[in-house]
């Protein structure tokens, strides 16, 4: 007959206690996996997005989590590589993520979005390329305006405010840049603006001197700059080196806090349209900006805001359903309008279209004295 010692009984009791308590504790948590560019060409954008997510998770967990469950947040670095992104999204799904967060760059999103779609899990991304939401993917959701929504506003700004008739376009030859250029060209044409110089550049390009000299010598009224964060800063630095005295017009990225920080004085005078900004006359944005600065020691750009909103989109959808349902998150988000009264973490009234695009107010801004200054607020496309 087996003899039970006091230590053996204690060990058995402890094991049983863990067996009972352990699963209960696990049930009180929900796992979210963020697949994002933390190194490589997209590191600047990806780091901001991750920080925004971390701030959102801290806020939500401090307020009791989602439906009482604390969030377990995991970040995977894609190295801005589409192949790695696919693998990371698959891994996230295999590891039981509730929804997939990220990535931010449009190319890796395009390469990986079918995986979450097949698994019928919502994927909340930071990409802006117009083509992403034209593929009938019911599980893909943006956190920013698409290029299709932003470019008409910018083209109107070029025509009516900048009074430009001939412009140069400097764009990065990846999904984001090409998508932006392709969305912009017909809008310019409709408004009678001629593209006198079309400058294609490479992702990760370090030297923009030759491009800046070409633009300086071109007979154009303004320059439309559509590059990623690091490249935007390098281009502005090169343009200043070469005395390119033409208005630099951009869409969100060019006027972002990170680009302003990197380009320094060279960013002054840049202007254009921004989808999200901590300097916008929206108290919730400004409060987020202060808390982000306090926690991470740097200013948030639009990607920080996008990451913060992404987690709150999932929270809102889950609480709306009243249960944890992976597929239900996408069903609930599609076609929804989320206001800050419904979910304070969404920060600004946001309508999610059936195809995953967003509609919300946006802003016209200019960089002055190393700061982004909002000039005016543009209404939602379909108020």
């Amino acid at each position: 007959m087996t003899r039970f010692t006091r230590a053996g009984v204690l060990a058995l009791a402890t094991t049983l206690a863990f067996a009972v308590v352990g699963p209960a504790t696990a049930q009180e948590r929900v796992k979210l996996i963020n697949v994002v560019e933390l190194s490589g060409a997209g590191a600047t954008a990806g780091t901001q997005w991750r920080n925004g997510i971390d701030l959102a998770v801290a806020d939500i967990n401090a307020r009791g989590g989602i439906l009482g469950r604390q969030i377990d947040m995991v970040h995977y670095d894609t190295q801005t590589n589409p192949g790695n992104t696919r693998a990371a999204v698959q891994r996230a799904i295999d590891e039981g993520t509730y929804s997939v967060l990220g990535p931010v760059f449009s190319g890796p999103i395009g390469a990986s979005m079918q995986i979450a779609q097949r698994a019928e899990i919502a994927q909340i991304v930071g990409g802006e390329a117009a083509g992403l939401t034209r593929q009938g993917n019911q599980f893909l959701f943006r956190t920013s305006l698409s290029q299709a929504a932003a470019m008409p506003k910018l083209a109107t700004y070029l025509k009516e405010t900048v009074k430009a008739n001939r412009i140069a376009i400097v764009w990065v030859n990846n999904d984001f840049g090409k998508g932006g250029r392709d969305a912009m060209l017909p809008e310019l044409q409709q408004r009678g603006i001629q593209v006198a110089l079309d400058v294609s550049t490479e992702q990760g390009q370090a030297d923009f001197t030759a491009d800046a000299i070409r633009i300086r010598n071109a007979n154009v009224d303004a320059v439309f700059v559509y590059l990623n964060e690091d490249e935007s800063a390098r281009f502005l630095l090169a343009a200043r080196q070469q005395n390119v005295g033409k208005p630099m017009i951009g869409e969100t990225t060019l006027l972002g806090a990170r680009v302003i920080q990197l380009a320094g004085e060279a960013a002054n005078g840049a202007r254009g349209h921004v989808g999200l900004s901590i300097d916008a006359p929206v108290p919730a944005f400004q409060d987020f900006g202060r808390r982000y600065q306090a926690r991470f020691g740097i200013a948030s750009d639009h990607n920080g805001l996008k990451g913060y909103m992404a987690v709150h989109m999932i929270k809102w959808a889950t609480e709306r359903m009243g249960r944890f349902d992976r597929k239900g998150v996408a069903d609930t988000l599609r076609g929804a309008t989320i206001t800050p009264q419904m979910e304070p973490g969404i920060l600004i009234t946001t309508r999610i279209e059936a195809n995953g695009d967003l509609d919300r107010e946006s802003f016209l801004a200019e960089v002055e004295g190393g700061r982004q200054v909002i000039r005016s607020t543009l209404p939602m496309i379909r108020p």
Binding site: L38, G40, T44, I213, A233, Q242, N243
Partner: protein, 292 residues
């Protein structure tokens, strides 16, 4: 014409940076008959160390630059020779070359993990903006980069050819065995060569980082172009590295201007292939024969 001159001056500035890095290839080749595949990372890392000195230790920029430069020369000049070259060279040139590839990865990933994966602003020692010279608008920074790089390379040439120590370095590079018989402290000369390589890398880093921003991945592009420059100019001559760097810089600038930024890498690579086919020792290199 003014536009062409502007492209050429911009290319010369970039080429001067490539030349400083390419000279490193030449120096290491002359002393150890191997290629330092971490040469691009040698140009990337000093800027990161300087910024780390400012942000982690609160040093003023000049002090961080001085300390960062000295630490880099000690660790990646003398330390590289003691920790990597000496143990590996006994096993042949190939293991050493592979070791430098590993070193490049360690430097890059180390900069990313211990400092930042994001690009960082690096202050320029020169004012921004452009000046008009004979109707051509030229960047002040570019002019300054060309001037500083030429002065540095000129001083190196003077040191190598006009001083006793420099001539001992040359003798060591040409034939270490005979140099040893003649009483030249070969080990010290080799160490000095590696230290000079590291110091030139520090200079290149300080010059290029205000333009490219300091980032862990900067070494990839700079290393590749410097490697092309060293081959185009001639791997066994400092003047070859200088000429090669300037040629590659100008070709790169003109390719970006008149062809496309998308194809700018292809043009120097095509030049490289052409040189290997027509003049394998490089445009300014010395033909070497070896008994196998």
């Amino acid at each position: 014409m003014a536009e062409l001159v502007a492209y050429i001056v911009a290319g010369l500035a970039t080429g001067a940076i490539y030349a400083l890095a390419a000279i490193g290839f030449t120096l290491v080749w002359q002393t150890s008959q191997t290629i330092n595949f971490a040469q691009g990372e040698y140009v990337m890392l000093p800027a990161i160390l300087i910024l780390a000195g400012v942000s982690f230790f609160g040093l003023p920029l000049w002090a961080a630059a001085l300390l960062g430069g000295l630490v880099f020369v000690a660790v990646f000049g003398a330390g590289f020779k003691i920790a990597v070259v000496d143990p590996m060279i006994r096993h042949g040139v190939l293991p050493l070359a592979i070791a430098t590839m590993a070193l490049a990865i360690i430097m890059k990933e180390g900069a990313k993990d211990f400092f930042s994966s994001e690009a960082q602003t690096f202050p320029s020692p020169f004012p921004a903006g452009a000046v008009d010279i004979l109707g051509v608008s030229l960047s002040i920074q570019h002019i300054a980069i060309i001037a500083v790089a030429f002065i540095a390379i000129g001083m190196l040439q003077w040191f190598v050819s006009r001083t006793r120590t420099g001539r001992q370095m040359q003798a060591t590079a040409q034939n270490p065995g005979v140099a040893l018989i003649l009483g030249i402290p070969v080990a010290r000369m080799v160490m000095l060569t590696f230290a000079i390589n590291a110091a030139l890398a520090v200079l290149a880093s300080v010059l290029v980082s205000p333009l490219y921003l300091a980032k862990f991945s900067n070494g990839e592009v700079i290393g590749l172009f410097a490697f092309i420059a060293a081959i185009v100019g001639g791997f066994n001559q400092v003047r070859g590295a200088l000429g090669g760097g300037l040629i590659v810089g100008v070709v790169d600038s003109l390719a970006a201007a008149y062809i496309s930024s998308s194809y700018r890498l292809a043009v120097p690579l095509a030049l490289l292939v052409l040189i290997i086919l027509i003049k394998p020792e490089g445009l300014f290199g010395r033909r070497e024969e070896r008994r196998i």
